[in-house]
């Protein structure tokens, strides 16, 4: 079962066999709160809208403190709270796979007198039980305010908020948003400070007049500083990427250090560009570290190395550089739930796909949905509830969920299956769940999916298919999957996946993908495309009712930051976020024997209705040749399409 490539965890359970009562496996160990959100009180059939609302899985307010705690951790993980000089020293040398202990070591170094809250497992157990007010103490313990002498020296000159934080009695229980804001401000101050003392940047000038016009007489440098830092940010970011592309890692490292100072500048923190830049800077930094391990430049990595070396490196990268692996599963879960909750993109994907599936499976008595990436199963309660309300009674529903192996926790697929089964039971849908564990989609074999005669099959892929665009080493260097390759030459993973899907003879394939071109082999092109894409995405976050600087906003940004990290920092098999445009997908799907299934006006209406739940005026749903895109102003960001076999 531990075998790295594929294993099938099969547990199939009729819903009526699910024991009613307290959850057997939930709540223990490192299992996190948000999973408990599943609404179980909805016993009776309800109206559709209500049901959809219930599918929202609101995170309880009491969990927010917990999330805040984790974000603090993550923030420190990403180096946002670390002084620049320490980062500058260690940029090149430390082992990224040991990120957590490195950060903790750094925290210890900063606050030797406060050894609390440096171990994440400690915190978890504490956080879930303590109250809101107590949380404040813990927060300050986790990321301590800078020592007083630091603040007097330079911190105060940079950030008016620091004065505020300083005046505030930290031992008092000043609960709530204000307190945590100033605390965040305080935690970031050491960076510009130490930076200005060590670098030649012009930020030693007095604090700018925030906003507004300075009079013409007072115009010199002071007024310019604010704008200049923005201009410099953009230029340096691109110049740094350019240096990475050239393989000039020393210059790139210098620029990363400068960029860290710039993005930490208080005047930058308000702009979406600076926040998106923060994510890109960290991604660049990680890429530079990876390149250093490879003996400089990934060009080498691509070509002049033996197969074995290459494989070893790929393995190393998969283990160390994929940001998803440096955080534990619980963190991913929190990020996922919050991103789902606060931003419309995932809901758009789920609801649009569900609507298409419902329409395509209409009238079938036995339906089988294959979800190529189950994640936390958030898509399916709504579908189950909709099927429950079907005129003439609900069909038999089988759901096959594919998910990656979970190294850090017990069987996630199983837990989600249980939850869904319970929900199906409560609305009288005959339901069976089937979990398939596979590290990669192309490892899934047809027999694992157990499609039965007479079933109407729907295949669903939400932000997943692009992961199969990884190029395989040409002679199939994967010993675990050695058996198949009939003609000696393996076809590319995406072709295998699409062939598998086609062989299931699905009534419908729903495909939701980022509408972007992040799969260029040329690093600079990819970097620029991603920078534009995610800066639009970050702009849109501001319209999601997310207060600037709020925990929710940071969660959403961190979620997207993981994708950014993968696009920018990873190469080869570790680079899985290979987003391609809707046009590219159309061509690929057509080539693989699929034809477009027009998403009806129902889906369009529903998607638009969904947007009304989010405050932003800038979101726009557009219909393009039967596909729906959700975008921000004129830029489409996410594309949903549906397909059937030719």
């Amino acid at each position: 079962m531990e075998d790295m490539d594929m294993l099938e965890a099969v547990y199939e359970r009729k819903s009526r066999m699910i024991p009613v009562g307290p959850q057997p496996s939930v709540g223990g160990g490192d299992f996190q709160q948000p999973m408990m959100q599943w609404k179980e009180e909805e016993e009776s059939a309800m109206g559709m809208d209500e049901l959809l609302a219930h599918a929202g899985y609101n995170v309880r307010a009491s969990d927010l403190t917990h999330v805040a705690q984790r974000i603090e951790e993550l923030d420190s993980l990403l180096g946002a709270a670390a002084p620049a000089d320490i980062l500058a020293q260690d940029t090149v040398h430390y082992n990224p796979s040991d990120l957590v202990s490195w950060i903790e070591g750094m925290l210890d170094e900063l606050v030797p007198q406060q050894p609390t809250a440096t171990s994440s497992s400690d915190m978890e157990s504490v956080v879930t039980t303590i109250t809101h007010q107590q949380q404040q103490h813990l927060d300050f313990g986790g990321i301590p305010p800078p020592p007083p002498h630091q603040q007097q020296g330079y911190g105060a000159a940079f950030n008016p908020n620091v004065l505020y934080a300083d005046q505030m009695d930290l031992s008092k229980n000043e609960v709530g948003v204000v307190a945590s804001h100033s605390q965040i401000a305080a935690s970031t101050t050491p960076r510009p400070a130490s930076g200005s003392s060590s670098s030649t940047s012009p930020h030693g000038i007095p604090p700018h007049a925030a906003g507004g016009m300075t009079s013409a007489a007072a115009m010199p440098t002071i007024q310019e500083s604010d704008e200049l830092s923005g201009v410099r940010l953009v230029h340096l970011l691109l110049a740094c990427a350019n240096a990475v592309q050239r393989g000039d890692l020393a210059a790139a490292g210098d620029m990363v250090a400068q960029l860290r100072i710039l993005v930490a500048h208080p005047s930058s923190s308000s702009s979406a560009m600076a926040r998106v830049a923060t994510q890109f800077v960290e991604a660049l930094s990680r890429r530079i570290q990876n390149s250093c391990y490879n003996g400089g430049g990934d060009r080498q990595y691509h070509h002049h190395q033996s197969q074995q070396q290459q494989q070893r490196q790929q393995q190393f990268k998969e283990e160390s550089s994929d940001p998803g692996n440096t955080n534990n599963g619980a963190m991913d879960e929190i990020l996922h739930f919050h991103f789902y909750e606060t931003c419309p993109y995932l809901k758009f994907a789920h609801f649009t796909a569900n609507q298409a599936i419902l329409e395509a499976l209409e009238g079938h008595k036995s339906v089988h949905v294959v979800d190529l990436d189950l994640q936390y199963g958030l898509q399916w309660p709504a579908l189950i509830q909709a099927l429950a309300l079907r005129p003439g009674g609900p069909p038999t529903l089988r759901l096959t969920g594919i998910g990656p192996p979970q190294p850090h926790r017990h069987d996630l697929l199983h837990e989600i299956g249980l939850k869904l089964a319970q929900l199906a039971d409560s609305v009288n849908v005959d339901f069976a769940f089937h979990g398939v564990v596979a590290a990669r989609l192309n490892d899934v074999q047809p027999w694992m999916l157990t499609v039965r005669r007479g079933e109407a099959v729907a295949v669903n892929s939400v932000f997943q298919m692009h992961k199969a665009l990884v190029e395989e080493p040409s002679d199939g260097g994967n010993p675990a999957a050695g058996g198949n390759g009939g003609g000696g030459r393996r076809s590319s993973p995406i072709d295998e996946v699409l062939r598998l899907v086609r062989n299931l003879k699905p009534k419908i394939v729903t495909l939701v993908e980022q509408d972007a071109d992040h799969n260029s082999p040329v690093f600079m092109e990819r970097f620029m495309a991603a920078l534009h894409y995610y800066s639009t995405m970050f702009d849109s976050l501001e319209a999601c009712n997310l207060a600037p600087g709020s925990v929710e906003q940071m969660v959403a940004e961190t979620y997207l930051g993981q994708e950014i990290g993968n696009i920018v920092a990873c190469e080869g098999a570790a680079r899985t976020e290979r987003h391609e445009t809707l046009t590219q997908w159309r061509i690929r799907m057509a080539r693989s024997g699929f034809q477009p299934l027009y998403l009806g006006s129902n889906a369009f209406k529903q998607a638009n209705m969904l947007l009304t739940l989010f405050s932003g005026d800038g979101y726009r749903v557009e219909e393009k040749d039967g596909c729906l895109t959700l975008g921000w102003h004129s830029r489409p960001l996410v594309a949903a399409s549906a397909w059937e076999c030719c």
Binding site: T200, D254, Q258
Partner: protein, 463 residues
């Protein structure tokens, strides 16, 4: 016809109808009548642009322009009266636009019918329209670029730089082209025509060290940057020089500043005398909205000469930013008026999307920068030197290209890096969705546009 308009000039309304009936007895035909009725009715509920839902203001302006060009000043004044009811410098974009174009037309009327100027003035006064002339200094007292240094105007220019991307876009895209052109150079000399406050150069200075330190392996070699700035005010040049020197010092950059005091129309003659060139320096010539000052008839002949002079300097790169608008010599007054109206409709629209209606910055930009440009473009170009200092003309990129190529320059297309950077900068400072960067692959020039209307063209040239 007597309907009360929702106008900010309520106090005028009492006298106007009587006076109109008195002088305009001959009538101006049905066309004017319908225009008025429409215009007065719905103007203040104005829409997004001058084309749509402008309540007939556009028709009224065109009508007025036609009257001005045919010296039918009674009709012109009638139009102005009606325009003044709906137009307002404090209204929405369309009303503001109408206000400044009314003012430009009134001023143009005075200058076209110069012999009757005093009569026209009193007529305007009788109609309570004299404010159209008095809002700003009358044309003869301002010399285009000298004007910018009179206190408020400098502030307005800085506000324009801060609020709209037009200036900054030009500066930063030009800077990127310069950086790419002088890569690996140890000594760079930039000749900046019309340097103003030198806002363009701090970002370049900041960008220089990382670029150069990475390309030269020995870090001990320092870069020398020299800027020769031209401008009409020696005090501003000195201030600018001091500020740039201070800034360069914070970067430990070896920097020199030379000033050449001259107006932009005599810049070539002054440079021929005073420009100091040194061996081993990579030369850059930077022309940010300067070349068009040679377009009015009085200076037109000097344009090829000026371009040839710049060509003779053999610069590594010549950067040119100009407003994208066509005021050809062969155009009629009315054609030019329409082109200008469309251009500034987009500009005012962009300001409306960027700043709230009561913003003093917006008012300042419109009153002190845009209004000047508008009246300069609307003014007829008599060809005389003294009276036509205020005349402003532009030409489209296509024609600039013709002129540049005739002088022996070759277009240098923007790099992918430059394009990506310009797009990001637009996003950084101007979240409004309307500003767009258009890249014309065919011509290799960058255009900054408001929605689909290109407003500024930036191009870079080499020998």
């Amino acid at each position: 016809m007597q309907q009360q308009p929702p106008s900010s000039h309520q106090h005028h309304h009492q006298e106007q109808p009587q006076f109109l009936g008195h002088t305009g007895g001959t009538g101006t035909g049905a066309g004017a009548g319908t225009g008025f009725g429409f215009g007065v009715g719905g103007a203040s509920s104005g829409g997004a642009g001058i084309h749509h839902n402008d309540g007939g203001l556009r028709e009224l302006l065109v009508e007025c322009a036609a009257a001005v060009t045919s010296s039918d000043w009674h009709r012109a004044i009638r139009c102005l009266v009606h325009l003044s009811r709906a137009a307002s410098p404090h209204g929405d974009a369309v009303e503001r636009l109408a206000f400044y174009f009314s003012a430009a037309l009134a001023r143009c009327l005075c200058s076209l019918s110069a012999p009757c100027a005093s009569e026209i003035r009193s007529l305007l006064r009788l109609n309570n329209l004299h404010f159209l002339l008095e809002e700003d200094q009358p044309p003869p007292s301002f010399e285009d670029d000298l004007f910018y240094y009179s206190g408020g105007a400098e502030e307005a220019y800085l506000a324009l730089n801060q609020v709209t991307p037009f200036i900054r876009f030009s500066h930063l895209s030009a800077n990127q082209a310069i950086l790419e052109a002088v890569d690996n150079e140890r000594a760079v000399h930039i000749v900046d025509l019309g340097i103003m406050q030198g806002l363009q150069w701090p970002p370049l200075m900041q960008a220089l060290p990382p670029t150069l330190s990475s390309s030269s392996s020995s870090s001990s070699t320092t870069l020398t940057l020299r800027i020769t700035g031209t401008g009409p005010s020696i005090s501003l040049l000195e201030q600018t020089g001091a500020r740039l020197r201070d800034f360069a010092r914070t970067l430990h950059l070896d920097f020199e500043f030379d000033a050449v005091c001259t107006t932009s129309r005599h810049v070539v003659a002054s440079l021929q005398q005073h420009l100091e060139l040194r061996r081993g320096e990579a030369l850059v010539v930077n022309c940010m909205t300067q070349l068009h000052k040679l377009l009015p008839a009085a200076h037109r002949a000097a344009l090829p000469h000026a371009l040839e002079f710049m060509r003779s300097l053999c610069p590594r790169i010549l950067t040119v930013a100009e407003k994208e608008s066509e005021h050809d010599l062969s155009q009629s007054f009315l054609e030019r008026f329409l082109v200008t109206l469309d251009h500034y409709a987009a500009v005012f629209d962009s300001l409306e999307a960027t700043l709230p209606p009561r913003s003093p910055q917006r008012l300042m930009i419109e009153r002190l920068v845009l209004a000047k440009e508008i009246s300069g473009i609307v003014l007829e170009d008599g060809g005389g030197d003294d009276e036509n200092l205020a005349v402003v003309r532009h030409q489209s990129f296509g024609n600039w290209r013709r002129d540049m190529e005739a002088a022996g320059f070759q277009l240098v297309p923007p790099s992918d890096f430059a394009i990506a950077q310009a797009k990001l900068l637009l996003r950084l400072h101007y979240p409004a969705d309307g500003y767009r960067l258009l890249v014309e692959n065919q011509h290799g020039s960058l255009f900054l546009s408001w929605h689909d209307k290109p407003l500024v063209a930036l191009s870079t040239w080499s020998c």
